[in-house]
């Protein structure tokens, strides 16, 4: 036991002297991606991580912190120490989520670093649609408000707001088109192909296979100018509707990062953005490059924040002022929870009242409460002291409690944690919590 305790102390010491004060960067950098592995934002994060690693000579790891339409990843990124070792993949939602009441964070919680791409929204219909042009679309909406059905994302997400802003710019109420919420552009395109909706609002890249094969047609793009790769598609602006909607991605640092550090990172990022690798990566993935340095990206973020505030304000106020002539037929967010809740209560009451002969009795079962209590203490200590230190002790205690000798308990715990270290930390680069110990 003594030698084991000694070993733990040594390990803790080794882990403790990890951080040194040296010229930036002197240790591993992480990029927080608020979206899941495999998606567009994740691919871009991983590409930038690989390139930055080459430029800066330190490991750069991508950490996927997903959930809450990006809110969780943004919160983790904004609250990180402003030392340049935590970078955040900033996406479109940063400009909208605080206006939607999902989060309190805005672009003001970040120091902008670089904008990488900007994919304009497009209005897309099927090849056999009677709507031939943007003008046709607007005429149809004016003639029959509430008849056309569109989709592209969930309610309040990027492409829904893009089409809301478009309708407002065209002087039409936002619910003169029915928005059928979808999980994303992909299922919405399937709906469009099946003829269940009339148009989709998403980026050209997302519908590229269908556009190239001629099954879908682009009416207009909501870009500031014609797209470099698709000059054949007109912009809304040139068709007389002053409206732009661009889904952007870029990198940002926590607010208060020292200017020297920002400069080093910005120079590295701009150099990457000028490289051939960057251009071919963006082309292969269908992202439209839109590169802006720290200052311009900051100005762009401010302008976006203002633009989407107007749209979100307009779409809620506009919907209410329509006096119910095109009202939504959604039973509302509370219909299902309330209905199911009543069912649960009725069924539970039947269980309690029903005269079952052998009704199972519920007791607290003290060994289980003990085990749960141990887990609670473990979970409180682990983020503060570090995953490996606390978990190795915990695993050994569990094995001992279940009746194995201390020797087995300690050896198996060390082997188990060693395996987890190699697998999760080394191979999969999952950053397990490290506190003051290891």
């Amino acid at each position: 036991m003594k030698s084991l305790a000694l070993a733990f102390c040594l390990l803790a010491l080794l882990a403790g002297c990890g951080r040194r004060d040296q010229a930036y960067p002197s240790q591993a950098i992480s990029i927080i991606c608020p979206w899941a592995a495999g998606g567009g934002s994740d691919r871009l994060s991983r590409f930038m991580a690989d390139q930055l690693q080459i430029k800066l000579g330190q490991p750069v790891v991508v950490v996927n912190k997903t959930g809450g339409s990006g809110a969780i990843g943004f919160a983790a990124g904004a609250n990180a120490a402003p030392d340049g070792y935590t970078i955040t993949m900033a996406t479109f939602e940063l400009s909208t989520m605080h206006w939607l009441g999902i989060s309190k964070l805005t672009d003001q919680n970040f120091t902008p670093l670089i904008q990488l791409n900007g994919d304009a929204a497009a209005l897309i219909v099927r090849k056999d649609s009677p709507v031939e042009s943007l003008d046709d679309l607007l005429k149809e909406i004016r003639a029959n408000p509430g008849r056309l059905k569109m989709s592209g994302t969930a309610k309040g997400a990027a492409w829904d707001l893009a089409r809301s802003g478009f309708l407002m710019a065209a002087g039409l109420p936002v619910n003169s088109v029915v928005w059928a919420p979808a999980k994303g552009a992909a299922p919405a395109i399937v709906e469009l192909l099946g003829g269940h909706i009339d148009a989709v609002c998403c980026s050209v890249a997302e519908a590229l296979p269908q556009i190239e094969s001629g099954e879908l047609r682009v009416l207009a793009v909501m870009a500031p100018a014609r797209l470099a790769d698709f000059p054949q598609f007109p912009t809304c602006k040139e068709l007389g509707i002053d409206w732009e909607a661009v889904g952007y991605r870029g990198l940002a640092l926590p607010r208060g990062t020292p200017p020297g550090v920002v400069q080093i990172l910005a120079d590295a990022c701009l150099e990457i953005a000028r490289s051939e690798e960057f251009k071919s990566f963006m082309k292969k993935n269908g992202f439209a490059p839109a590169v802006r340095g720290p200052r311009e990206f900051g100005e762009f973020l401010r302008q976006q924040d203002e633009q989407w505030h107007k749209v979100i304000l307009g779409s809620t106020v506009g919907a209410a002022s329509l006096e119910g002539n095109v009202k939504s037929h959604d039973p509302g967010p509370w219909a299902v929870p309330v209905g199911v809740g009543v069912v649960v209560l009725v069924l539970a009451a039947l269980q309690l009242l029903g005269g079952h002969k052998e009704r199972p009795r519920l007791s607290l079962e003290s060994p289980v409460m003990l085990a749960a209590g141990a887990l609670v203490i473990y979970l409180l200590l682990m983020p503060r002291l570090g995953f490996f230190a606390v978990t190795s002790v915990f695993a050994a205690l569990v094995t001992r409690y279940l009746g194995r000798p201390w020797k087995t308990a300690v050896i198996s715990s060390v082997l188990l944690l060693g395996a987890i270290y190699l697998l999760f930390v080394r191979l999969f680069k999952v950053p397990l919590p490290h506190g003051v110990l290891f």
Partner: protein, 494 residues
């Protein structure tokens, strides 16, 4: 085709292919490591391999092994790695407890391979037609599909039907936590950003099944040392194949159902597994054994979930639209290797498509070999003292819940659901219907409400569209068939 076969069966291709699949099995069988991670990690490795067919073989190999591998911890430890493996925590786990674990996973392996082959054949022969058929489905049809899935709650409630429905309703209620995608409003989030996307599925499953099992063991240490290591004795290969042969119609039927469900852009391997389990139970002569260790309860979902993986490739290749994260990564890799999935794929890439089909078919055969090694390795770990295995389960439950999105909050969720699962089972409330409600809740609600938005508030499309009527009649039949069968069989038995 023969030239490409010769090329594919060369050692230069087979060895990295097998290694990649072994890697896929290893990752898929580790709780907390997902198929998405495995595929995301293998793609950059393939950049160093000069031959594009070898690269594609490695990537497809990994993506096809993950679902089978996820059944391993579900069977032995009751920790399902993916929603698609949740059905394996029923009969497969019961059989493993009875010491027949080894037999069950071999059966699972063979059924997975057959399911895979059936779906690939469908992909080769009728992909464009099936994809077009899938386009007919919209919110109204998906709503009934979800109802059909939920009706399986009656099947998996293991006795007390009313408690099964209670559990399913609880699952539905839990599923409503988070941002409502139809209105964009947060529900029951208590102001916590972590809850905006609802409860993550994996921590809830690990808690309800894995951790609650640990609690049961803590309560009853005497009982669990008695069962000892239950990796199961090794059955002869002939014996397992014979079982499959006896159930050949069930295997084929489940595989075809899995392919059909998988080919729908709005449904996946999880609902395929449940639907096929329910169908097998409804048409079985011996329904009572389901849930307590019926071989059919292993065969049906495991054939269907792997078939659904192949089925999901049908819309992905034909439309170039990925249905989930794994497919998205593989599609991305295909584009890197100059295959552009989409409506033109069969015209522009006919030769490459043949290679792809050959790769997908051979992968199923290689799966038998890799899976066999994986099963042996996994089972040998279970020969460790039970106390060591249990503390391993606890640690992997913690790491697994954390690693899903690198958030300690999810470990708390796992702990909470561990307690909920433990006490619900003490109250004899079955857990499988709860999982069913949790999986199908969002599908049910979103499709119902989006359907109503589209129809302008009218319920008519739900009851008048042809496929809706078909699904409705299946629902009615599923409720009636068992009693009819009983009447038919009764005279024969007495």
């Amino acid at each position: 085709m023969s030239a490409s076969l010769e090329h594919l069966l060369h050692w230069n291709v087979i060895v990295p292919w097998l290694l990649a699949m072994a890697f896929g099995i290893f990752v898929g069988a580790t709780p907390g490591l997902t198929a998405t991670m495995a595929v995301a990690l293998i793609v950059p490795i393939t950049y160093y391999i000069p031959d594009p067919n070898t690269s594609l073989a490695m990537i497809l190999g990994v993506s096809f092994t993950a679902i089978f591998a996820g059944d391993l911890p579900a069977t032995y430890l009751r920790i399902p790695g993916t929603p698609a493996s949740a059905a394996a925590t029923l009969d497969a786990h019961q059989l493993a407890k009875q010491g027949r674990g080894r037999e069950v996973v071999y059966l699972d392996l063979i059924c997975s391979a057959i399911g895979g082959v059936v779906s690939v054949i469908a992909l080769i022969l009728v992909a464009p037609q099936l994809a077009r058929w899938g386009l007919k489905f919209t919110n109204y049809e998906y709503f009934w599909l979800a109802v059909l899935g939920l009706s399986m709650a009656a099947v998996v409630s293991l006795g007390a039907m009313s408690k099964g429905f209670l559990a399913a309703a609880l699952g539905l209620l839990i599923a409503t936590v988070g941002i409502d995608t139809v209105s964009g409003q947060p529900r029951f989030t208590l102001g916590r950003t972590e809850l905006l996307e609802g409860f993550s599925f994996i921590p809830v499953m690990i808690g309800l099944f894995g951790l609650s099992e640990v609690f049961r063991n803590v309560l009853n240490p005497a009982e669990f040392t008695k069962t000892g290591s239950n990796a199961g004795r090794s059955p002869s290969a002939v014996q397992v194949w014979l079982t499959v042969w006896k159930q050949k119609f069930l295997v084929l039927r489940s595989s075809m159902l899995g392919t059909l469900v998988g080919a729908l852009p709005g449904a996946g391997a999880d609902i395929a597994a449940w639907a096929s389990y329910g169908l097998a139970q409804r048409t079985s002569r011996d329904r009572a054994r389901f849930g307590e260790g019926a071989i059919e309860g292993v065969i049906a979902p495991t054939s269907a979930n792997n078939a659904a993986v192949g089925g999901a490739w049908i819309p992905a290749l034909v439309f170039g639209i990925p249905g989930d994260a794994v497919t998205a990564i593989v599609l991305g890799a295909m584009i890197m290797y100059d295959i552009k999935p989409g409506p033109l794929i069969f015209e522009q890439h006919a030769a490459r498509m043949n290679d792809l089909f050959a790769i997908a078919l051979i992968t199923q055969i290689l799966l038998l070999f890799c899976g066999w090694i994986g099963v042996r390795a996994f089972a040998s770990m279970l020969r460790l003292p039970r106390a060591v295995v249990m503390s391993g389960v606890v640690v992997f439950s913690i790491v697994g819940s954390y690693a899903i999105r690198n958030d300690i909050f999810d470990v708390w969720i796992m702990l909470a659901f561990g307690l909920i699962g433990f006490y619900l089972e003490r109250l004899k409330v079955p857990l499988p219907p709860l999982i069913l409600g949790l999986i199908l809740g969002p599908m049910l609600e979103e499709n119902l409400r989006t359907g109503l938005i589209k129809s302008g508030g009218s319920w008519a499309p739900f009851f008048t569209r042809p496929i809706c009527l078909g699904l409705l009649s299946v629902l009615v039949l599923a409720a009636l068939v068992p009693s009819l069968l009983q009447k038919l069989h009764k005279p024969a038995r007495t």
